[in-house]
């Protein structure tokens, strides 16, 4: 007969158990993604258009001051970050689907802690983010942006992408937990993406924003993602914050959001 899986084990072992459960969720989500990778290819079209059309045109007209960088060099890290935002911000739809099917009940009656379930989902979203980042990086190379090919810089970009995707995916799951239906969720998702995108340094520097917009940009997590990715991808760029600050903000915000969502997630089953 079964023995309960929470013996009086040490703290370390309990953490290891919950981490294993987190990766069980990631493994499961990646298996789902592998069955239907078409979504990832479709998702690559939009960043390609931003770089090829928007980027090329604004490179010609020189209206946005980007210092020592070409506009395309300035824009590529912004588009990379934006594509991570766009793929993650609708991730909550998966929770709603799982609730409508009934799968969510099974997860919630399992002994996995709510934090490990939510973290697993957030990290799964970052797998999608990583595939986007890879495509944009390759595009950037092809367009002559000369992104850094230093392994440490690339590793840094990947870590930033994982954090950024987890952050926005968790935000998305929070919205899903609150509104619970697809229609309302999609409405709010649409409402959020554009302000997050435009109130960040993705396509123009914060220095040219009107003063009222700047505090919003500083409160916007996307700004920190763009800042970190830009500095790592284009080392000649000038960053707004030190890299340490960018990563600390991304990590801190992700942790806070995961804690909030692990309180809200069980409500999906009520």
């Amino acid at each position: 007969m079964a023995t309960p899986s929470l013996p009086a084990a040490g703290f370390g072992r309990r953490i290891a158990t919950q981490l294993d459960r987190t990766f069980a969720i990631v493994d499961y989500e990646v298996r789902k993604l592998r069955r239907d990778p078409s979504e990832l290819l479709l998702r690559a079209v939009q960043p390609a258009l931003w770089l090829l059309v928007f980027g090329e045109v604004f490179t010609q007209v020189h209206v946005i001051p980007t210092g020592n960088l070409t506009y395309l060099q300035f824009l590529a890290p912004g588009v990379l970050s934006q594509s991570v935002l766009f793929i993650a911000i609708f991730y909550g739809i998966a929770s709603i689907r799982e609730r409508e099917l009934g799968i969510i009940y099974k997860f919630l009656v399992s002994p996995a802690s709510r934090i490990s379930l939510v973290t697993g989902k957030a990290l799964s979203a970052s797998v999608r983010g990583l595939s986007q980042a890879t495509i944009v990086y390759l595009l950037a190379v092809a367009l002559g942006v000369h992104p850094s090919l230093d392994p440490l810089d690339i590793l840094g970009v990947l870590v930033a992408v994982v954090l950024g995707a987890s952050l926005f995916a968790t935000l998305s799951m929070i919205i899903a937990s609150l509104v619970k239906t697809q229609e309302r969720f999609l409405g709010i998702g649409q409402l959020l993406t554009m302000p997050l995108f435009f109130a960040s340094s993705a396509i123009y520097p914060i220095s040219i924003m009107p003063t009222w917009l700047r505090p919003i940009a500083y409160a916007n997590p996307l700004t920190y993602l763009v800042d970190a990715v830009r500095k790592l991808m284009i080392p000649a760029s000038t960053s707004v914050f030190p890299l340490g600050v960018d990563f600390a903000v991304l990590l801190g915000a992700t942790i806070v959001l995961i804690l909030v969502e692990s309180r809200l997630y069980p409500r999906m089953a009520q």
Binding site: Y28, L101, I103, P111, A269
Partner: protein, 265 residues
């Protein structure tokens, strides 16, 4: 010792009392049925016992663990098959079980053997590598039960296990539940509104109506208590919950029940 003890459990939603001070016990290897019309409080009862919903008042223990104070321990010893579909159509039957084997910490060395034996028990071995979207309704239900058995739970909660299934598939599910009791002495709590199901499977029944248990006992004694020779379970049900056919179930629950039924066809 009883595997499940519920004492005066109550769940209130706003002004609506879905479960109203009900008490019952389920012994080891016993199949306990909760019978009642839609909206009687069956699903809410299951949800509070499986830790999905907090109790408003009352106490309940499962395998000696308190559902309010020790929810994580309770979760480790129960299996649950919700009324809605809980298998993911996008991945294979095997992958559906694999994630739960890991969530329940089935040791890595045993994992594959445990998954295979659960699939075999439910008669799904040859479909292990087939995506669930190609399964029939009966196969999906059996897969869900296999999923809930992976960690060898002490007690299995089945919420309307055969809703929307054709008679052949229904009979197969009934057969598996009977084998489960015989081979593993697993206790089962199931909700249903099919009299035939209650009659065939359940050692004891509780008839729920408007959040309360209005009658309980073995099916035979419930029928005998009617006093009319040849009384059926339908008669018992009609007697206790007869005027309850329209208990004001909301649009949402009706929609969900029907959707499940359609998907399972």
């Amino acid at each position: 010792m009883s595997t499940l003890v519920a004492q005066s459990i109550t769940r209130v939603f706003g002004r609506f009392t879905a479960v109203d001070h009900i008490s019952f016990e389920v012994g080891e290897g016993e199949v306990f049925g909760i019978l009642g019309p839609n909206g009687a409080g069956k699903t809410t009862t299951i949800k509070v016992l499986t830790t999905l919903l907090p109790l408003t008042s009352g106490t309940a223990t499962v395998a000696g663990f308190d559902v309010v104070r020790e929810p994580a321990r309770v979760r480790g010893v129960i299996g649950y098959v919700p009324q809605l579909i809980s298998a993911d159509p996008l991945v294979t039957g095997y992958d559906n079980l694999r994630v739960f084997a890991r969530l329940y910490q089935v040791p890595r060395a045993e994992r594959d053997a445990r998954i295979e034996s659960a699939l075999e028990f439910m008669g799904l071995s040859e479909f292990a590598r087939t995506p669930v979207k190609y399964y029939s309704g009966g196969m999906i239900r059996r897969l869900e039960i296999a999923q809930a058995l992976l960690h060898r739970p002490r007690i299995l909660f089945l919420d309307e296990p055969t809703v929307g299934l054709d008679p052949v598939a229904r009979d197969a599910v009934w057969g598996q539940i009977e084998r489960l009791r015989e081979e593993f002495r697993t206790s089962v709590v199931l909700t249903t509104h099919y009299m035939e199901e209650a009659d065939r499977l359940c050692d004891r029944l509780a008839i729920m109506h408007r959040g309360r248990i209005v009658a309980s006992g073995p099916p035979s004694s419930l029928k005998a208590d009617m006093g009319t020779p040849g009384a059926t379970l339908e008669d018992v049900f009609a007697h206790f919950a007869g005027e309850g056919l329209d208990t004001g179930v909301g649009f949402r629950e009706t929609q969900r029940t029907r959707r499940t039924a359609i998907r399972l066809e």
